[in-house]
């Protein structure tokens, strides 16, 4: 067991810190630290491409596909320095952290060659077509259908909560390819082009006023027969493996964003005198502890284990971070007081901390609600009896 970094790792830190800071002080100073995922989309696409040009976009990928074969320690360091430099949230997080690793794990050589370069180059933004109006917590209840027609899969159905679909070039879709199948059986994992007449995206305005989520309607949408990861009918396995990547290295970058948010709360408390309030001091300390334990939980989860393996740290991670974020949002508003009620200008748009307060209400819902997480922890982690299914 060892926490310190080697001299080689520290040299890597110096290299990436220097590059990131130069970018954020120079050509990309205008998008340094912007809080909202929907702001400055064209500039953020340029940022993705700049990351790619200097091989900083997907450092954990193999060198052959535009990565650096970075070690876990290097990925930890890069995530830390990325946040320290104030670089903006990755608009292609889903492509780099979820679609890419899943294609690397399940794709044929031909599929890798078709999809990975666009992700690595930062030119193809991806989104995730999992949830449906009738398949939320009960994700396997997917109704979207795909049938083969003249060498194409033809897809009909509706996806929902598709983050950033309105800016995306590609979508991975879980669809039912076996007529009459139910639950996780008979599903397939399709990779589809967003730019086609059969796909219609309608943004959903959220309670914070922004529209990161969308409804995505698929009406005779098409993709080639070989645009499928894994075999027909085995899409559930691929979909679940992708969720394991979601709990993987990508959490490190997310945590650094949390660090910046907690630092903003601490700065606000120091600025307005609330730092002297003994109750708020306890809550700030608890938030600090929670964040540190999230970091070490993630390192435990990632150190020397198979990413797909579900161990205790991995199984409890989602509910842990989601609840931490929601609590931090509440703490932020208690620190800000009435100041937190004021929007940043004429529009109904919010600075970082009030936005966190509102947005974090979704954290305990998307990606598996806290209630579903507890079911899974109890059933998969503790071996308790499964929830009975209804008759419908």
């Amino acid at each position: 067991m060892k926490l310190g970094f080697s001299a080689e790792d520290e040299a890597f830190r110096a290299e990436c810190a220097q590059w990131l800071q130069a970018q954020m002080a120079g050509p990309f100073a205008d998008i340094r630290g912007i809080p909202n995922l929907c702001d400055e989309i064209p500039r953020r696409k340029e940022w993705e491409q700049q990351l790619a040009a200097d091989r900083w976009s997907c450092i954990g990928w193999p060198k052959a596909w535009g990565g650096r074969d970075a070690t876990l320690a290097q990925q930890v360091i890069f995530a830390e320095e990325y946040a320290r430099a104030g670089a903006p949230n990755r608009i292609n997080h889903i492509g780099v952290e979820l679609a890419g690793p899943t294609i690397l794990a399940f794709g044929s050589d031909e599929q890798k060659a078709r999809y990975l370069p666009g992700i690595a180059a930062g030119t193809q933004i991806w989104c995730q077509g999992y949830s449906e109006p009738g398949a939320g917590s009960d994700l396997a209840n997917v109704k979207t259908r795909a049938v083969l027609d003249n060498g194409d899969w033809v897809v009909n159905g509706q996806k929902v909560w598709t983050s950033l679909a309105h800016y995306s070039d590609m979508i991975f879709v879980v669809a039912r390819t076996e007529e009459g199948s139910k639950g996780p059986r008979g599903l397939s994992f399709l990779l589809m082009d967003m730019d086609q007449p059969g796909i219609d995206v309608r943004p959903i305005r959220q309670m914070n006023g922004e529209a990161e989520f969308n409804e995505t309607f698929l009406t005779d949408a098409r993709c080639p027969a070989d645009a499928m990861l894994g075999a027909a009918g085995e899409g559930w396995k691929v979909a679940m493996a992708l969720l394991a990547f979601e709990r993987g290295v990508s959490t490190l970058g997310q945590q650094m964003q949390f660090r910046n948010e907690l630092d903003a709360v601490i700065a606000a408390a120091r600025a307005n005198g609330k730092a002297a309030d003994p109750v708020l001091r306890q809550r700030i300390a608890a938030a600090e502890i929670g964040l540190r334990l999230m970091r070490y939980g993630a390192l435990r989860m990632l150190s020397g284990t198979d990413l797909a393996a579900i161990d205790g740290a991995a199984l409890t991670y989602k509910i842990q971070w989601a609840t931490w974020c929601r609590d931090l949002g509440e703490l932020a508003m208690d620190v800000l007081g009435q100041e937190g009620e004021l929007a940043r200008g004429e529009e109904y748009r919010w600075p970082t901390l009030p936005n966190l307060y509102l947005f974090s209400r979704s954290d305990t819902i998307y990606g598996g609600t806290n209630q579903i997480q507890r079911n899974q922890i109890a059933e998969r982690g503790l071996g308790l009896p499964r929830e009975p299914r209804g008759q419908a």
């Binding site: 067991m1 060892k2 001091r281």
Partner: protein, 351 residues
């Protein structure tokens, strides 16, 4: 950077778990509760057969070397059985002597502490008086103080060694809520006291070892309450179903696991940070003590609730965990105090 146990560490953990599970049984612990809170036969075999009391003591001083991570593995395993042992007092004393004792003090006490022949306790007083090699004052809440041979006492900034048998020493054991670690009041009236060589180092080692020990015991205890409650929830049937199939029940178990996983990260982060001399060590120690104590207390309370009536009986072991959790919460700084230390580090430091 590799936050996973080495093979050697995994082996120590397995050995310790097996040893305590086999030997620190409920029956033996209950016998010890009526006899000063120490299972002397268990302590003897822990020290002599396993040879694990010397963790953190260099080999040339009769110990087995190794560090806080390995010590935490032992304390975790002992905590899982609420073992009635002077682990806390002996480990704190041994680490304090290694860090700050004179050569003569190390030679006099370390072999006896490592072999289990001597039992040590530690306590603190803000108003004790040291004059001409004599110490006077009252030191409260000494764990296993009634059984101690060596008293490692902190008087203000000073750290002093006192032999329990010395003239002027009165030790009053108390009936204590946690009977596996009863507390005593030590009263000194001009008792012979020997200062250590380095007071700062010795006092620091007392604190660090104490916090790691309690945090790791709490982790082991919390995991045990979860394991035992899960097992019960699969046996007990009501309304024609295993009670573990009810969502209200299993969500509480899930909440226990969520906290325990974080507690595990906390203990080994802190232990590793101490071993590596990391500048995060201080915040890690405060985090570990506060978080693990709170986790254990929550889990032990849930263990009682989720067992129903049987969980409230003397016969069932749930109260042993609950009482140990309570004593850990209050000992060596409560969670509010540790969180306040963290608040001071993150809020009051110069910007």
């Amino acid at each position: 950077m590799e936050f996973a146990f080495t093979e050697e560490q995994a082996m120590i953990a397995e050995t310790a778990r097996g040893f305590f599970a086999e030997n620190a049984t409920s029956a033996r612990t209950r016998q010890a509760m009526a006899a000063g809170g120490i299972d002397r036969a268990l302590w003897r075999s822990f020290c002599t057969e396993l040879g694990l009391a010397g963790i953190g003591v260099p080999e040339e001083l009769g110990g087995v070397g190794l560090g806080m991570v390995e010590f935490a593995l032992i304390a975790e395993a002992a905590g899982a059985q609420v073992a009635a042992l002077p682990l806390l007092g002996n480990a704190r004393a041994a680490h304090a002597l290694v860090a700050g004792g004179t050569d003569a003090q190390k030679a006099r006490w370390l072999p006896a502490l490592v072999s289990g022949e001597a039992i040590a306790t530690s306590a603190w007083s803000g108003d004790a008086v040291v004059a001409n090699g004599k110490l006077s004052g009252t030191f409260r809440f000494a764990a296993h103080g009634g059984s101690a041979d060596l008293l490692v006492l902190t008087a203000g900034e000073q750290c002093l060694l006192v032999e329990a048998s010395a003239p002027g020493v009165t030790i009053t054991p108390h009936v204590t809520m946690d009977q596996t670690r009863p507390l005593a009041t030590i009263t000194l009236d001009n008792a012979a006291a020997e200062p250590v060589a380095d007071h700062g180092e010795a006092n620091h080692a007392l604190q660090v070892t104490g916090w790691i020990c309690l945090a790791a015991e709490a982790l082991g205890g919390a995991q045990a309450t979860l394991d035992r409650t899960v097992a019960y929830s699969k046996e007990r049937v009501q309304f024609g179903r295993q009670i573990g199939s009810f969502q209200a029940y299993k969500h509480r178990l899930a909440d226990m696991m969520i906290e325990i996983e974080q507690a595990r990260s906390a203990v080994y982060w802190a232990a590793c940070a101490v071993d590596e001399g990391s500048d995060e060590a201080q915040i890690a120690l405060h985090s570990a003590k506060a978080f693990c104590a709170d986790t254990f207390h929550m889990c032990a309370g849930n263990m009682i609730q989720l067992h129903g009536g049987i969980g409230f009986t003397w016969e069932h072991d749930a109260h042993l965990f609950f009482k140990r959790a309570r004593s850990i919460s209050s000992m060596l700084g409560d969670s509010q105090w540790h969180r306040e230390q963290i608040a001071a580090l993150v809020l009051d430091a110069a910007a």
